[in-house]
Every structure is written in C-alpha cells, then in structure tokens.
Symmetry: C2
Subunit: 364 residues, 2 copies
C-alpha cells in the first residue's frame, strides 16, 4: 500500500505561536497560471533620485527637507497611523449591560511612527549593502528601541510596543523604492505580538521551558527546514510557514530585544540578514519582495512579558513560482484558513541550495 | 477642549467573531500614493472565449471537455487542494513527551474541491446577471451543500465543512475572468469558521442569546453602518471591518445554512447580492474585485454547532482609493495587526449613497 507522503498528500500543520492552522497542498503547485503577473524588477534606478522624498537633501511629501544624511537616517512619518496627541476617548459605563457594551469594544490608540532610511543610496537594498552599513541599520533599530523605552519611562510617552518592519517591493505595497523601513510605536501591544506572548507563557506553564528553546533544539536536530546559521542566529522555514518562502531569524539564546544586543549579536545579525536576502534575490534573479519585522519584548517589559520574550524576525515574501508570479492568500485563505502549495521542507531545501554570498547583480 | 472624533483620531476596534483587533487610522487616507497600480478593468471580453477552460464546450486544463452548459455548472477542480483518497497519516504515540509532540501538530486532510461556473457567458459577473440566473447560482450552492452532507452521512465521505467562495478579479488572485466560484470541502472545520463557532458559543454562554441576534438589532438601531436590507437579509460594513469596503450579508433570522433556504430566502439573497455588487462596481466604475464566501453550519452539524450557526457572507474587497489603488495588508498588518484608513461608518455612507439598481455599464 502507498504511504503517506508529506510532499504529496494534503495535511494541516498547527502554528503554536499564533494558535492557528495552515493547510498544506503540495501537489497544487502544478496548476497553470493565467492570473496577475507582478512587474518584473529592472535594476535601473539611479544612486540619487531628485524626485524621491527619501533621498538626502530632498523635499519631503508634506514640506520640510531631508538633511544630507550619509548613513542610516530616522525621521517621523509624515502620515503617521497613530499620533502622540489626541483627546481622550470618553468612557462609557462598562458595567451597564447594553448591546454596545456587549459588542463594540473600542480603545483609543496614541503613539508615534518613524521612517528609517537604511542608506542614502536610492538604488540599494539590504542584500546589496555592505556589512558595515547594515550595522548602522541595526544600531538605528537599537537606538530607537532604547530611546522610545526611555521616553516612556521618563517623560510618560504612551509607548508600549514598537513594531519595526520593512515592506519591500511594489507587490508588498511599498510606495518608494528607496531602501527604508518603518517603526510604529503604540500604547497597545499589537494582536500578533500579544498572541505570541500568550503562547510563550502557555508553553512555559505546560513544559517548564521556553517554546523557542525547544523549537531551536528540534530544528537544529532535524535540519530539514534549516536555511542558515551562525553563532548567534538561525534561519528556518517554520514548520507552520504560510507564505511560500517564509522564514524566521531566531536568536539561538534567549535575548528579549534588540535593546540588549552586544557587538557580536549585531555583527551576526547583519551577516545572516545579508546572506538570507542574497539568497532571496538570487532565487528568481529579482529584487525579492517581502514584509519583514522584528518581534521582541514590549518596551520596559517586566515579569512574564520580559521573561517570555525571545528576539526573532519574520520574513513574509509573496513570490511563489517566478519573479512575476506570487501566491495570493485570498478566498479560501480569507474565509477558511491559510493554504500553501509546497512544503516548508521543499522551500527550505531550495533556499539552502542558493548562493548566499554573491548577489546575482554582482556576478558579472 | 477638542473632543475625540472617530473619523479623525486613531483607535482600535475589537472583532468578536474572530477575537482580534483592527487599528483604525482615519486621517491616513491623505497620504500620497506612488506604489503599485492595479490593471484597470476594460470590459472588452467576448461572450464566449475559445481559449477559456471554463467556457461551455471547451477543453479543460487537464484534458476533458466541458458540456455545452446553459446555466450554472459545477465540476470537480482539476487542481484540487485536497483529495478524497490518500494513505492514512501514521499515528505517533501522542502520550510520549517528545519535542515533536510538543511542537509539531499535524493532521491529514482529505476532501474535495469544486468549481462553480455561475453562467455560460464568459464576460458576465454577479452584478450583471439576471435575478433569475442568480437563483441558479444559489440553487447550485444549496444542492452542493445538501449533496455533500448526504454523501458524508450515507457513504461516509470525509466531509465536515464546505467552504463556498468566489475570488473575483486579478487583484484577488483570480486566474480566469469567466464568472465562477469554488467550493472546498474538508474533513476539518477551517480555522476561521471554527473560531467563529467558538465565539458564538462563548457569547451564548455569557448573554444567553445569539451574537448575531444582538448584532443585527444594534446595527438596525444605529443605521450608520447599514448599507442595504430587505425582508430576509441586511448588508453592513462590520464595526470591526478590516478591508476598506468590507461588508457582511447577514440573514435577519437564525438560519444555520443555505441547505435550509426556502424560495423567499433565495429570492431575497439573489436580490441583495445583485444590489450590493452593483454598488461595488459603480463605486469606481470598474469590475470591483473581492473575495467573498459563505459562513454557515458544518455539514450534518448537530447540537451546539448547529444551534450556534447563523448564515452570513463576508465580502473582502481590496480597493481603497480608485479602480487601480488598493489597500495592502502588509508590514504592520502582518507583524502587528490589521490597520484601516477610513472608518467603517465612512465606508458604509459611501456604499449607501451609490446606486444599487443600475450597473454603470448599463447607464448608456
Ligand atoms: O484556485 P485558483 O483560482 O487557481 O487560485 C486562487 O484561489 C485559491 C483559493 O482561494 C488560492 O489558494 C490561490 O492562491 C489563488 O490564486
Ligand atoms: O506606510 P506606507 O509605506 O505608505 O504603506 C504601506 O505600509 C503600511 C504599513 O505596513 C500599510 O498600512 C499600507 O497599506 C502599505 O501601503
């Protein structure tokens, strides 16, 4: 009789971080594609673009001017999703049993949003930056994290969590090619993060150890989903990955946040970040789009929230078959549950076998 | 002093169906857009396309031929995400405390997938179809639901839930313009649905009534999120909507599934479906993309699962500012939590004011 084959037969895998499931349908990658094609990336952008509102010295979208910055540069987002000042939301009597109290739960959210220009050079991206320049980016993340924590402590800014992330490529809604990320700092812990913290704490109560401690041990044993590692970090395609080439960078030891990084950790993160993104770009010889971001301890976390936090980064890239054909999480995925067309092990193997040292644009 | 203004100040709203939050940043719609533009829809497709594998009489992707169907037509998906036959997944000893047992939770998933051609006419879509033809679609959904339930009962097919949905438009990953939807039938209840069932049951325990019974009462009272209604259904932009013009069609009375629809319900659903989608198309004078689907009772549900189920449909359309500029749920949304740029009340007002009777292509 035929045996169950994970690379051929449909199955669901459980994501213990988010307490949700993903449907894996490995045979489905064979279907024809007549749908939307992404614009293929052509590396023709100039080093400096006079019309880019992120380039050094240029005017910004709402007026004001960028300094002639020469390294990583942070400034407040001109179209912030949250603002530091707004009137308080009037409290309704929460004890009254009204339909509104039952069904409409609403909170005011203050905060601050920042843009982080990775480099003054308009046409670079992380895989193309020098390690010494990537260290500037990591330093900027660290400074931002620690500054925001201090402002919350010392001058009572309403900051509880800072979500640092990058949207790269038009397929990921990025409206400007200039290498940049963002940081949104809120007085609430965003859902994804608070769900992870809940899962960490549940795991610790059940197994008396950290979820990531066990997970790292298991992935280093099995190796089939491992993409890269160095002294401080590993890159895996999670067992429960949703996006075709989704990965996670996880620090091998428990480090709550980038606020705690020493020089070795910074060097090791810069190096693994560069190698991972070179692999991504080399896969389809394109500037590989993704959303990525840091998950870490809430600002000024204490107790369980501090003890349970474990620095890691998620990469969510949409491409599936080529530089122009992406995975759509629509229909069944929105109404039912996420579905993927190749196994995480197949994705990891493909990533493992790709060159992570030399970027395809430098191969000539 | 300034007062809190929901149409200007950032806030989070809780979604009691999915137990999650959405960040509402109404002032953010003002930012400039330099990012990806969707292809504008040009209504030039022919009534019949000899290269379309869904048109009557044509050859299908994997060989085989469509009949010369004249109404709604259902056939098995040639690239099904789940299949009826696959070898059993070997059981590992679940009581052994291994790292794998702790972290890797996996289930085999069998099932069946169907494609539902709404009409033989290649260039139509729901808002352009006659009411009498929409009834055929609704009949097909009902027949499918009842047939699958019977096959599960009588010949032990591994069917527990059928997710009926439609992806419309290239922006929603739809690879063929021909008006069609899908149905994926699984031996597991998909995450979104089981989360809703959990929420319904929790609500009933707390308030001794149905969540939707209260919700409908409240929305009909407040009216600010109401888009359409008739005897049997209402259309609202949910208080916790994520997508810019997300809506829900909810049956006013508790009906577990389409399996139970009588002729009045079918007529009323056809009519409200047509009016809602005409409004959508009229908004930007385009074929408005979306993913939509039915949420209802699991097949052969009994007890709580049957008692708590309440027929409704979700519409998730991506467009935000125009026929070519969509909302991207990326970066902060993937790492943190969903974020929207206009309030559900603003979206509902816009939808309410649009013509729902005459499709823009018929106005000449
Ligand atoms: O089945 P189709 O139309 O080929 O594919 C589309 O719908 C599926 C179900 O929502 C998705 O999984 C695919 O990503 C999408 O491209
Ligand atoms: O801030 P940007 O680059 O204008 O906008 C982009 O990132 C945001 C945060 O992930 C998203 O909310 C937007 O939908 C996306 O287009």
């Amino acid at each position: 009789a035929q045996e169950f084959d994970f690379s051929d037969h449909s199955h669901r895998r459980y994501n213990p971080l988010t307490d949700s499931w993903v449907l894996v349908s490995p045979h489905r990658a064979k279907r024809p594609w007549l749908g939307q094609q992404e614009a293929a990336y052509k590396p023709t952008a100039p080093l400096y673009d006079s019309k880019c509102y992120l380039c050094p010295g240029n005017e910004r979208a709402t007026g004001g001017q960028n300094p002639k910055y020469e390294s990583t540069y942070i400034f407040p987002n001109d179209y912030a999703a949250v603002k530091i000042d707004q009137p308080p939301l009037p409290k309704t009597d929460p004890d009254k049993d009204t339909l509104r109290n039952r069904l409409f739960n609403v909170q005011s959210v203050r905060g601050n949003c920042f843009v982080i220009c990775f480099s003054p050079k308009h046409n670079l991206s992380i895989p193309q930056m020098k390690l010494s320049d990537l260290i500037h980016v990591i330093n900027a993340w660290q400074t931002l994290y620690n500054d925001l924590a201090r402002e919350a402590r010392e001058i009572h800014k309403p900051y509880k969590y800072v979500q640092i992330f990058e949207n790269k490529g038009t397929a990921m809604g990025c409206s400007n090619l200039h290498p940049h990320g963002q940081a949104w700092c809120l007085e609430a812990i965003p859902s994804e993060v608070s769900q992870e913290l809940k899962s960490f704490s549940k795991y610790k109560h059940e197994h008396n150890t950290d979820l990531f401690a066990d997970y790292i041990k298991l992935e280093l044993q099995e190796k089939s989903r491992l993409v890269l590692e160095n002294e401080s970090f590993m890159v895996v395609v999670p067992y429960w990955a949703v996006w075709p080439f989704e990965t996670m960078i996880v620090s091998k030891k428990k480090i709550p946040s980038i606020g705690n990084f020493n020089q070795t950790l910074k060097d090791d993160l810069a190096s693994i970040l560069k190698r991972l993104t070179i692999k991504y770009d080399n896969m389809f010889e394109t500037s590989f789009p993704y959303s990525m971001g840091l998950h870490q301890a809430p600002l000024n976390a204490t107790g369980d929230a501090l003890n349970d936090s474990w620095f890691h980064m998620h990469f969510y890239p949409p491409l599936l078959r080529s530089a122009t054909v992406r995975k759509f999480l629509v229909g069944f995925e929105m109404l039912g549950e996420p579905q993927r067309d190749l196994t995480p092990e197949q994705a990891a193997e493909k990533l493992r076998n790709l060159d992570g040292e030399v970027h395809y644009l430098e191969k000539f």
